[in-house]
C-alpha cells in the first residue's frame, strides 16, 4: 500500500488520511461516530489502525541514552 492509497478492501474506501485524523481525535464529531461504527466492521481499517498502534508503541518504547537521563 502506498501512502495515498485507500485501504484496498474497505467497502467505503476510507483513506489512510481519514484514519490518521480519526486516530488523532481530530475528525468532526458526526464523522467520527460514523467512522467508529464502520471501523468496528472493517478488517482493512482495523489492520491499518493496528499498524498505527504498533508504530506508536515502538516510538514510545524508545529509551533515552543514559547520558541524557541525568542518572
Amino acid at each position: 500500500m502506498t501512502i495515498t492509497d485507500a485501504a484496498p478492501t474497505c467497502s467505503l474506501q476510507i483513506t489512510s488520511q481519514t484514519l490518521s485524523t480519526w486516530r488523532a481525535d481530530d475528525l468532526p464529531t458526526r464523522e467520527a461516530s460514523l467512522l467508529a461504527a464502520h471501523v468496528g466492521e472493517c478488517a482493512s481499517c482495523q489492520a491499518h489502525l493496528a499498524a498505527y498502534d504498533k508504530m506508536d508503541s515502538l516510538l514510545r518504547a524508545q529509551t533515552l541514552p543514559q547520558g541524557l537521563t541525568g542518572n
Binding site: Q17, D26, L59, G67, T69, G70
Partner: protein, 214 residues
C-alpha cells in the same frame, strides 16, 4: 539559598550550565556585595520572581524536551545544547509563557525552531546521519543497548523530513493534539493533520522495508 541548592537536583549535564544560570549569577553578585543572608534572600526574591514556578516547569518538561531534541537531531550533545537554549528562552519570557493556555506547545515550538535551524546548519543532514551511524555502531558494541527494534526505530525516524519527524514524535510520544502540533510547528491545523498523516505513512512504509531487509 534553597532555590540555588535545588540546582543540585538537575541532571549533571545541565548542572554545569543550568538554564537557571542568570539567577545563579545574580545571586552570586548579591552575595559578593553583601554576605548577609537576609539581603541575599531579599535580592534573590526581587530579581527572580517565579523562579520556583520556572523550576517546576523545567522539571516537568525537561525530559520531554531533551528526548524530543535527541530524536530530532540524532545527537546527544546537540540535544543538550538545544535544550539549554530552549529553557533559557523560556526563562526570558516566562511571565508570558506561564500565562499561555498551552505552555507546552509554546515550549515545543521553540525547541522545534531550534532543531530545524540546527538541522539546516548541518547542510543536508549529513552529520546527523553520521551520528546515527555512530550510534548504531555504539549500540552493537554495548550489550545493554542491543535492542534491534529500537535501533530500527531510530534509523527510520531519521529518514523522515525534520518537519514530519517533529509531527510524529510530538504526537505519538508526547501526546500533542493536532491543534498543539499546529502551534508547535507554526502551521495551520489542517496542515498539521496532513503532516502527521504523511509522517505516519512514511514511517510505516520505511519501517516495514527495514523489517523486510533484516
Amino acid at each position: 539559598m534553597g532555590q540555588f541548592m535545588s540546582l543540585l537536583r538537575l541532571p549533571a549535564w545541565l548542572r554545569t550550565t543550568s538554564p537557571l544560570w542568570p539567577i545563579q549569577l545574580l545571586a552570586t553578585e548579591a552575595e559578593t556585595a553583601d554576605s548577609s543572608s537576609a539581603v541575599r534572600t531579599e535580592v534573590a526574591g526581587a530579581v527572580a520572581p517565579g523562579l520556583d514556578d520556572f523550576e517546576a516547569f523545567f522539571t516537568r518538561h525537561e525530559r520531554e524536551v531533551v528526548g524530543y531534541l535527541w530524536r530530532m537531531t540524532g545527537e546527544e550533545q546537540a540535544a543538550r545544547d538545544l535544550t539549554q537554549e530552549t529553557f533559557l528562552r523560556t526563562w526570558q519570557r516566562f511571565d508570558q509563557v506561564r500565562a499561555y493556555d498551552q505552555p507546552k506547545a509554546w515550549l515545543f515550538r521553540v525547541a522545534t525552531h531550534l532543531a530545524l535551524n540546527h538541522l539546516r546548519d548541518q547542510a543536508t543532514g549529513a552529520k546527523a546521519r553520521q551520528a546515527w551511524s555512530q550510534c548504531e555502531h555504539a549500540t552493537q558494541s554495548d550489550p545493554a543497548m542491543r535492542i534491534v527494534n529500537q535501533d530500527a526505530v531510530l534509523q527510520t525516524l531519521q529518514t523522515l523530513s525534520p518537519r514530519d519527524r517533529a509531527a510524529l514524535v510530538l504526537h505519538s510520544i508526547y501526546g500533542l493534539t493536532c491543534a498543539e502540533l499546529a502551534r508547535s510547528l507554526g502551521i495551520s491545523r489542517s496542515a498539521a493533520k496532513v503532516t502527521l498523516w504523511r509522517a505516519r505513512e512514511r514511517f510505516r512504509t520505511q519501517h516495514q522495508r527495514s523489517e523486510e531487509r533484516s
